[in-house]
């Protein structure tokens, strides 16, 4: 997204990094502007430097500026990758006139990067408002009149800067939300001329992000103008970051948040419900990064099949075919990331021969956490399409036994295909419901084989971590879906725990993972498992990734949840993921909050959490309180085997 530089004209380059970039642009613009206005596009320069006065009438100049400046590159804006600059270029372009306005006041030939940056940071919100104004003017004819009105007004009250004036002006004008931006921009222009009280004026200006009243919102035309909304989001965020200072009198934080939510929902196409959930999880600047990251796909990654080849050889073979690749990172010995390729990655002879598997980087993590050893018995409860199962098999070097299960028969075909292609010989594929596993295994497996050594549960989830792969998730998930997923996950995790043999010499581990970032599906389920079974959380062995939450809104989770890991698209550049690793230390299934025997340990640890638990922790008698009758029924088989305590 560069400026359209004419390569034939080599501009004289002065000292300084910015000079090299912007000086050229200035000269470019000089072609379009009337000779006297060429100073407008000069970059950098101390805002505080006393400079020439504002050119006679800025407003007529800006529309002209907009077109040539449309090619200007974004200037070091944080949070937006180059991929997004296409989306944002028009906004940036509109920004330029405002910058131009500032620039012209700098001393000639001088570039002060520091002050320029500072200027940019501080006046981000406000300059956006000003830009907003011109954005509006470009889209709606009737705005020209207010603009010209504004320019004339500003010229007249150049000396004074008062919010009262601005608000009066705003009240006079009756239109959409651009009013706020407009008068803020007017203020801005006046302020630039002052120069001396720059910082203070900036603060004043930022306060000028005025919440549009409800009537103004209603009067908003549809389809919404995305540029305006984007500017409003930025302005709103500015205010919310420094709320005490920048807030508007009489407006609550809730109103700002409500507007922000509405705008983000419109701009990024999310449902309001999902956005509310996301706002609970992420702080605001991170939320923007997350939303932006979801617009862009994650890089394509492959995993070498070490049963058939080595990463080195595979990389060489693919490079010979014309694929641009790199090792995935220090944390993976088998991963490769594909930058671009002249052949379809899913159809090379190496792929067909089973030398590698197309797999997301985040899917390598749960298997690394599981750390299957050779000659173990592993259960993969939700295995489709078979990437993790085959990774487990390759780590075990085709020894031992893997039971790959999935409840969806359609998707099992890809599992079988992948396992055969990759040369996995120690897998049995089954099509059972994961919740049946204790029953299926109990009689024969437990009796004859004694349960599994490790279980991997990649639970079906709402998919909020993989929005970049499936944008439909933005709108089709609501409260019911999340709770339904959560319920299913809770059932599955109990089954998974029941299928593991705690007394196994090498194992006794369960890894629970989802590709979701919702707390209801992650920490809540893990906490539920901790309460219901004799398991404890252990370190996943992954040294990167964000720790899971130990408290969220009004819920408090077990402190050991710090050992779980969360991965986000915007911080780790892989799909959103959550991983938790349990160790089962006893095969006994605790009856409802029974204190004695092995469950005493987790009880005492968890006692501080709820009073209820404290009371029951001390009791020896078993209380026949059935919070989950269905669960009890399913466990009745095991319960009968255990002598009842009187």
């Amino acid at each position: 997204m560069g400026r359209k530089l004419d390569p034939a004209r080599k501009e004289k380059r002065g000292p300084g990094r910015k000079a090299r970039k912007q000086r050229g642009a200035e000269v470019e613009l000089a072609r379009f502007l009337p000779p006297g206005k060429s100073r407008l596009s000069r970059p950098g320069g101390s805002a505080a430097a006393a400079g020439a006065g504002l050119p006679p009438d800025p407003p007529p100049v800006f529309p002209q500026n907009r077109r040539p400046a449309a090619g200007q590159p974004p200037r070091g804006r944080s949070g937006f990758s180059d991929d997004n600059s296409k989306l944002l270029a028009p906004a940036k372009a509109k920004k330029i006139p405002s910058k131009g306005n500032n620039m012209e006041l700098s001393s000639d030939g001088e570039v002060e990067e520091g002050s320029w940056e500072m200027e940019e940071e501080e006046e981000d919100g406000s300059s956006d408002e000003m830009v907003d104004d011109y954005g509006a003017s470009s889209s709606e004819e009737e705005e020209l009149l207010p603009i010209e009105k504004a320019a004339l007004k500003q010229k007249s009250d150049r000396g004074g800067l008062s919010e009262d004036d601005s608000e009066e002006e705003e009240e006079e004008e009756e239109e959409e939300e651009e009013a706020a931006a407009e008068e803020a921009s007017r203020q801005k222009m006046g302020q630039k001329e002052e120069e001396s009280t720059d910082l203070q004026l900036n603060l004043d200006i930022d306060e000028q992000f005025k919440l549009p009243t409800d009537e103004q919102i209603e009067r908003e035309t549809s389809p919404p103008d995305l540029h305006i909304i984007h500017q409003r989001i930025k302005g709103n965020m500015e205010v919310l970051q420094d709320f005490v200072v920048k807030r508007e009198e009489g407006r609550t934080r809730q109103e700002y948040l409500a507007l922000l939510r509405r705008d983000m929902a419109a701009y990024y196409s999310y449902s309001d419900f999902l956005l509310m959930k996301l706002m609970d999880i992420f702080p605001l600047p991170e939320l923007i990064n997350f939303l932006e990251a979801n617009e862009v796909p994650r890089p394509v990654t492959i995993r070498t099949n070490t049963l058939k080849t080595r990463r080195r050889d595979l990389a060489q073979a693919l490079i010979n075919r014309g694929v641009n690749l790199d090792p995935l990172g220090k944390w993976s010995k088998t991963g490769l990331v594909i930058y671009d390729s002249s052949v379809p990655i899913g159809a090379t002879p190496e792929y067909l021969a089973g030398h590698y598997m197309l797999q997301g980087a985040s899917s390598l993590l749960p298997v690394m956490a599981l750390a299957p050893q050779e000659n173990e018995r592993i259960l993969d409860m939700c295995c489709a399409p078979g990437g993790k199962t085959s990774y487990i098999a390759q780590l075990m070097k085709n020894t031992g036994m893997i039971l790959a299960n999935d409840s969806n028969a359609e998707r099992l075909r890809s599992v079988v295909g992948n396992l055969h292609r990759l040369g996995v010989t120690n897998a049995v594929v089954s099509n059972c419901d994961g919740r049946q596993f204790p029953k299926v295994c109990s009689c024969l497996l437990w009796g004859v084989l004694g349960g599994f050594d490790r279980v991997l549960l990649d639970a079906p989830c709402s998919g909020t971590g993989v929005i970049s792969k499936d944008p439909a998730v933005k709108t089709n998930k609501d409260e019911k879906d999340i709770l339904r997923c959560s319920h299913l996950q809770k059932e599955l995790i109990l089954s998974a725990i029941d299928s593991v043999n705690a007394a196994s010499e090498t194992g006794g581990y369960i890894v629970y993972c989802t590709c979701s970032i919702m707390v209801e599906e992650n920490e809540w389920v893990v906490d539920y498992a901790l309460k219901k079974r004799n398991v404890r959380l252990v370190a996943t062995g992954l040294d990167f990734g964000k720790e899971g939450f130990t408290r969220f809104k009004d819920r408090r989770f077990h402190p050991s949840l710090k050992s779980t890991r969360r991965f986000y698209p915007h911080t780790h550049n892989m799909d959103g993921f959550f991983i938790a690793k349990f160790k089962k230390f006893s095969n006994a299934i605790p009856q409802e909050q029974k204190a004695a025997t092995p469950s005493a340990v987790p009880d005492t640890v968890r006692e501080p959490q709820t009073k209820k638990r404290k009371l029951e922790g001390s009791k020896v008698d078993k209380e026949q309180k059935p919070p989950q009758p269905a669960l009890k029924k399913r466990r009745s088989l095991q319960a009968q085997r255990r002598p009842l305590k009187a």
Binding site: A353, M401, L449
Partner: protein
Amino acid sequence: MRPLTEAETRAVFEKLGRYIGENIQLLVDRPDGTYCFRLHRDRVYYLSEKLLKVAASIPRDSLVSLGTCFGKFTKTQKFRLSVTALDFLAPYAKYKVWVKPGSEQSFLYGNHVLKSGLGRITENTAQYQGVVVFSMADVPLGFGVAAKSTQECRKVDPMAIVVFHQADVGEYVRNEDTLT
């Protein structure tokens, strides 16, 4: 899931023998344990005995695949070897054919191998002998039947078929649904 009957075993071994000859013994008696064949829904699976117990405990309707599928019995009880057995045929193959890089793709699309694409061929391959097809980098691509003996291959014109295609790894992508 049940063990193979006499007749079925004979059919399977005979088919396998066409490609790997007497090396079938190596398939059954392996250093890392005994392997066996089992029949499930007309498909023949090759698996280690360790898997047998687990596979046996899964309800028959839920069982989808065990170990490696070698092929299936057709409705008229003929045994058809599938590409999924390639990993076991390739190391023990007695007669091999190497294909030039240019016609790799063509073979992977399911076409026969022409003389123009033939890189190397094992000496004294008889006509209609089962062969395993490799790429020049020794990557197994599939298997087929030699249409011409080695001697004839030297004499025949470039457009003649030298290997009839029977199965290739491209089927993993083309016929993913019919593998199971």
